[in-house]
Symmetry: C2
């Protein structure tokens, strides 16, 4: 636990959520760890592979937080997602990893783009099944969009209340 590889993933995740795929380098990570970039390559041979590993871990952790409360449904599920997203920007003021990478999806290595797509696919699947009703899928898309966009606004304004205002109506939107 807390080995070098894991801590490298921590640093990479923070940098990607701050400045995107093009905004971090192996030398940055190495310097912050007090090692050399060649040692980073020992743990993660390529940048694309490392980013894919960051995305996989991020997805697993996200659904460890969100999925256990599977008995809850509808508005409560939305509230759980909303609170998970809010804590991201509350803790360190950074973007959702997949929101950041998804925006730049066109310029990403294919293996990274696949991980991002998998994240959103699972979010929409999970949310829509818990929300239910004829517009469940559309509502799941809407919730995910509002959450990611809410983070963008909070980042642009450097003000978390932008996220709160943007997402306040999600819980009380009423179900079909």
């Amino acid at each position: 636990m807390g080995g070098t590889a894991e801590r490298l993933l921590d640093l990479a995740e923070a940098r990607i959520r701050e400045a995107g795929y093009g905004g971090f380098s192996f030398r940055d990570l190495a310097a912050e760890m007090g090692i050399k970039s060649a040692s980073v390559h020992h743990h993660f041979p390529t940048k694309a592979g490392m980013t894919a590993a960051v995305a996989r871990r991020y997805r697993e952790r996200f659904f460890e937080i969100v999925a256990p409360r599977r008995d809850k449904s509808g508005d409560e599920a939305i509230a759980i997602y909303r609170s998970a997203f809010r804590s991201a920007i509350e803790q360190d003021g950074r973007m959702c990893l997949n929101g950041m990478l998804g925006a730049a999806a066109g310029g990403l290595p294919p293996e990274v783009a696949e991980e991002v797509k998998a994240f959103f696919r699972r979010c929409v699947g999970d949310l829509s099944s818990r929300v239910g009703g004829p517009d469940a899928v559309a509502r799941a898309f809407h919730v995910m969009a509002a959450l990611e966009g809410g983070l963008i606004l909070a980042r642009a304004f450097r003000d978390i209340t932008a996220f709160d205002q943007a997402t306040a109506s999600l819980n009380t939107q009423g179900q079909p």
Copy 2:
């Protein structure tokens, strides 16, 4: 009209909307134009300055599209914004410039971050004044978030219907 500087802004805008601030270089632009990177520096001395110029032009153009129909209000204003955002991804499959830059706001030169903030400030101000009502500001934030997030989903899935589903409820959400 259509001078070198203008065409350089076109190319820079396309690249930024595709891969972000870190995803374009003066040499890329020069190569696409058939000139050398030194000639790009003649028109735009620094990358930060050029990106700020791209953002300024993007904002001006956006409000030339959206603002003239100032007589419209409420749901119609939201529909106008929605259609403006949709045309962005419909035409070239790319992100909104400010959504892309806003996500990475933490790693941007200050002069660029200021332009992005100005864009969203004006959007929220314009939208909220046209929507009206006690929750006008929150609703404006919500609309902007859903539109930017809808673009992210459409990019991640490479499917414009993700945007359509995510934003379908914006028009018919009903006003307070």
